[in-house]
């Protein structure tokens, strides 16, 4: 143990410094970058090595085609919010759920599942749901913890429910079929959505003041019969979601390109709703620029931090922690899940996928869980377990990107402490989902026909 600590002293110190720094309240993005540089000096890493950081920023952010979707989805969310369409839809959805306690939160969760099928980008989903729903929920007197939790958790479903960039990447890392991964992820994704809804129902029933029913008069003065109102208010957003999802399904656009179609559609919708003027547009593009930069600079900072962390042996430290045990199949699987869960506190999913998956894939492939699974089926099952786990990592402090995004859009109106507290029940629900998928591999493997 002492030897281990001595060998990886700098890598450990880096993590400690990061945790300490984060709590000063200095922006996380800049802290990540600055600590990377500082520890490169402390560790005596040759300065030219830091030249990799510029290349990583260029290749990983600027030239990264997938990232273009972030500002576009942010813009779509902002326009939807400003056009008043989203607000109407949420109100009517709430009418649909009638007098169900927690109906608004359930509407948000359902919206999250639908959005997951269209965006697939965490930052964008969370930001969009946040912009859509948070003001409405707060106005209706929801407990901030309840509102933030359901938004962050539902927003992260996008990384699990296909189409998902993360699954595509895992497919290429693990050398398994991406199509099979998509099918495999569907049931677990829907299961998580269902768990959220059950939790919301139970909580709203036990603690009515956390999720108050809106005063019927305040909710909607609208006297249009519900079916008609639904038709009217659903039309715009459904057309938009159909445009985004449909353009992918019809082969008109890739998911990235669909983001632009969504953005243009939201602009058009605002125009139709007569809520588009110069000032609205100007404010929307300015806010889009700031919000996207906020998301992307965390990635930029992390790129510097992680390359130095690895150079200081951080990845070996992790490898040693895994291989140093002598556990059976389930023991090892649980240990790996625990490790990824803990890593998820600090690292980004891309880093975890690239560092941990290649290390553990050969080990996992030959484990015998007694189901007579092929190596491929085992890897697919494992990949989905990791995916659920990584989805959880978006929600776990201190580095829960979903929490950061949410924090970003609240612009200081809700403290990070509240957001951290809000997420605890949802992390537990995620873990429940994970355990169910470990206990019942059929949840994962039945759809792709691998059992």
């Amino acid at each position: 143990m002492a030897e281990f600590l001595a060998e990886y002293a700098l890598a450990i110190a880096m993590v400690v410094a990061l945790l300490a720094g984060i709590f000063t309240g200095y922006p996380v993005a800049f802290l990540l970058g600055g600590l990377g540089i500082a520890f490169a000096f402390i560790g005596g890493i040759p300065i030219p090595f830091l030249g990799t950081v510029g290349s990583r920023i260029f290749g990983g952010v600027i030239e990264n085609w997938l990232m273009i979707a972030i500002p576009l989805f942010v813009f779509m969310g902002l326009m939807l919010e400003r056009s008043g369409v989203a607000k109407r839809l949420l109100l009517t959805l709430q009418r649909l759920f009638g007098r169900t306690p927690g109906g608004l939160a359930i509407s948000v969760a359902i919206l999250g599942v639908v959005m997951a099928a269209s965006t697939g980008i965490i930052g964008a989903s969370v930001v969009m749901l946040g912009l859509l729903a948070l003001p409405v929920m707060m106005k209706q007197g929801y407990r901030a913890e309840m509102a933030c939790g359901v938004i962050a958790a539902s927003g992260t479903l996008g990384i699990l429910i296909p189409p998902s960039i993360m699954l595509v990447l895992m497919g290429s890392i693990l050398q398994v079929s991406v199509g099979a991964l998509f099918k495999a992820a569907l049931l677990p994704g829907l299961l998580l959505g269902l768990l959220y809804i059950v939790y919301l129902l139970v909580t709203a029933w036990l603690k009515p003041d956390w999720a108050p029913l809106a005063d019927p008069d305040a909710v909607d003065a609208d006297t249009t019969p519900l079916p008609l109102a639904l038709l009217r208010d659903l039309l715009g957003p459904v057309v938009l979601i159909v445009a985004v999802l449909g353009s992918i399904m019809a082969g008109i656009a890739t998911p990235t390109e669909a983001a632009a179609i969504g953005a243009a559609g939201s602009l058009l919708l605002a125009l139709i709703m007569r809520s588009l003027d110069w000032a609205t547009l100007r404010d929307a593009v300015r806010e889009t620029s700031r919000t996207s930069a906020m998301i992307l600079f965390v990635v930029i900072g992390a790129t510097c931090f992680s390359v130095v962390f690895k150079r200081l042996g951080g990845d070996y430290m992790i490898e040693e922690m895994v291989t140093g045990t002598g556990l059976g199949p389930y023991g090892l699987l649980l240990l790996l899940m625990l490790l990824i869960f803990v890593l998820g506190f600090f690292l980004e999913w891309i880093e975890i996928s690239f560092v941990v998956l290649p290390l553990v894939a050969p080990v996992v492939e030959v484990l015998d869980f007694g189901y007579g699974l092929s190596g491929q089926a085992l890897l697919i099952w494992f990949a989905i377990l990791v995916a659920i786990n990584l989805q959880t990592s978006f929600l776990t402090p201190p580095f829960g990107y979903a929490l950061f995004y949410l924090k970003g859009i609240t612009e200081g109106q809700i403290g990070i402490g509240t957001i951290y507290r809000s997420i605890i029940p949802f992390v537990l629900l995620q873990l429940t989902g994970l355990i169910l998928c470990i206990a019942f591999p059929a949840l994962v493997l039945w759809l792709p026909g691998l059992l």
Binding site: P48, F49, L50, G51, T52, S55, R56, F58, G59, G60, E63, W65, L66, P163, I165, V168, L169, G171, S172, I173, L174, Q175, V176, S177, V178, G179, A180, I248, M249, A250, G251, I252, A253, T254, P255, T256, E257, V307, K310, I350, F354, V355, P358, A361, G375, Q376
Partner: protein, 343 residues
């Protein structure tokens, strides 16, 4: 001073697939050749720098070494198109002969010298395939308006036939093909393509891979780092490099055919481009080649050197050409081996 004992290598391919495995194999051979004195630490793509930044980072010294497909650097060093993906180029065997017994490696090194990068071409992948199509190609006109994910010189050839060649990031190809955002894609050899799952989203698998008859992969080393090694070490690197090349050439072709048989069993329709189509592609390639040679004297020099060398080899095999042995009466034709590898 003696160079690094453990060379950090930024790979452009995952070591989990055949293409990246080459670097791992090279490291093993290097350990053997040096008696365990020198080895490679192969980093996954993106681990140190993104795949497309490897050349640049080796040149600057930010990373010591890289493992690449040579054609990636055509935007910077246009001559690499010839090594990475030369339409209607020679077979891997003839190409290898030019690299080691002709001017091939020398000319490539000359092109890299201004960037301070030492190159060791250590791995060749067999002919890639003609690509995955969701549309049958029966005549040259079928390329008109076809959108295909393909890069380099092959793309320019297809443009001449009216195809729209597209830039789709590796991780989005599957979905783009599944949804019809592109009608076709080329990617790699069957072993790698199968792992990408393209058989699930494309109907036809076309041959031959006219756009890329052989493609080279190499170990890039920062020149200053390379110069730190003694002559003996440098020779050991070359030995390991050749051993890796031989391994790749021996290992790859049978494995591809096994994979193709498995794909056929899954319902993929394996097709050959009709002669008329191949002829049209060749005509277009003449046009593209002319433009390329005009714009780029280095390419012209290398192309002519390669073709001269290939002519010698072709002549030899023509003289020595034999028909296949006749079967013994009553014996079945040998059927291709199946099963074994699980790609």
């Amino acid at each position: 001073a003696e160079g690094p004992k453990r060379l950090d290598v930024a790979s452009t391919f995952s070591t989990q697939n055949f293409l990246g495995e080459g670097a791992v194999h090279l490291s093993e051979e290097l350990e053997k050749a040096t008696g365990g004195e020198v080895s490679l630490r192969v980093h996954e793509p993106g681990d140190l720098v993104p795949a497309f930044e490897v050349f640049n980072s080796v040149s600057s010294g930010a990373v010591q070494a890289g493992w690449d497909w040579i054609g990636y650097w055509a935007g910077t060093v246009p001559i690499t198109n010839l090594y990475g993906a030369l339409p209607f180029g020679p077979t891997p065997e003839a190409f290898m002969s030019w690299m080691w017994a002709g001017e091939g490696t020398e000319l490539l090194q000359k092109a890299y010298d201004p960037y301070g990068v030492k190159v060791l071409p250590c791995f060749i992948s067999p002919q890639e395939t003609g690509g995955w199509y969701n549309k049958e190609i029966n005549k040259p006109e079928d390329f008109e308006g076809l959108s295909m994910r393909i890069s380099g010189l092959g793309a320019k050839v297809l443009n001449k036939l009216g195809a729209s060649t597209q830039l789709v990031p590796g991780s989005e190809i599957y979905l783009a093909l599944e949804r019809g955002r592109v009608d076709a894609t080329e990617f790699s050899v069957p072993q790698v393509d199968a792992a990408m799952g393209f058989d699930e989203v494309a109907e036809y698998y076309y041959f031959p891979g006219w756009h890329q008859s052989a493609s080279w992969f190499s170990l890039l080393i920062n020149q200053q780092v390379w110069d730190e090694y003694s002559d003996e070490r440098k020779a050991q690197f070359e030995t390991a490099c050749r051993a890796t090349l031989q391994w790749a050439m021996a290992e790859a072709p049978p494995e591809q055919v096994r994979t193709i048989h498995q794909l056929e069993e899954k319902g993929v329709k394996v097709r050959r481009f009709p002669d008329e189509v191949i002829s049209a592609l060749q005509d277009a390639w003449v046009e593209v080649r002319q433009e390329e040679m005009q714009n780029n004297p280095d390419f012209k020099e290398a192309y002519e050197s390669l073709m001269q060398h290939v002519k010698l080899i072709d002549e030899w095999y023509e003289l020595q050409a034999l028909p296949a042995p006749k079967p013994i009466q009553g014996e079945n034709q040998p059927t291709p081996v199946q099963g074994e590898g699980d790609a």
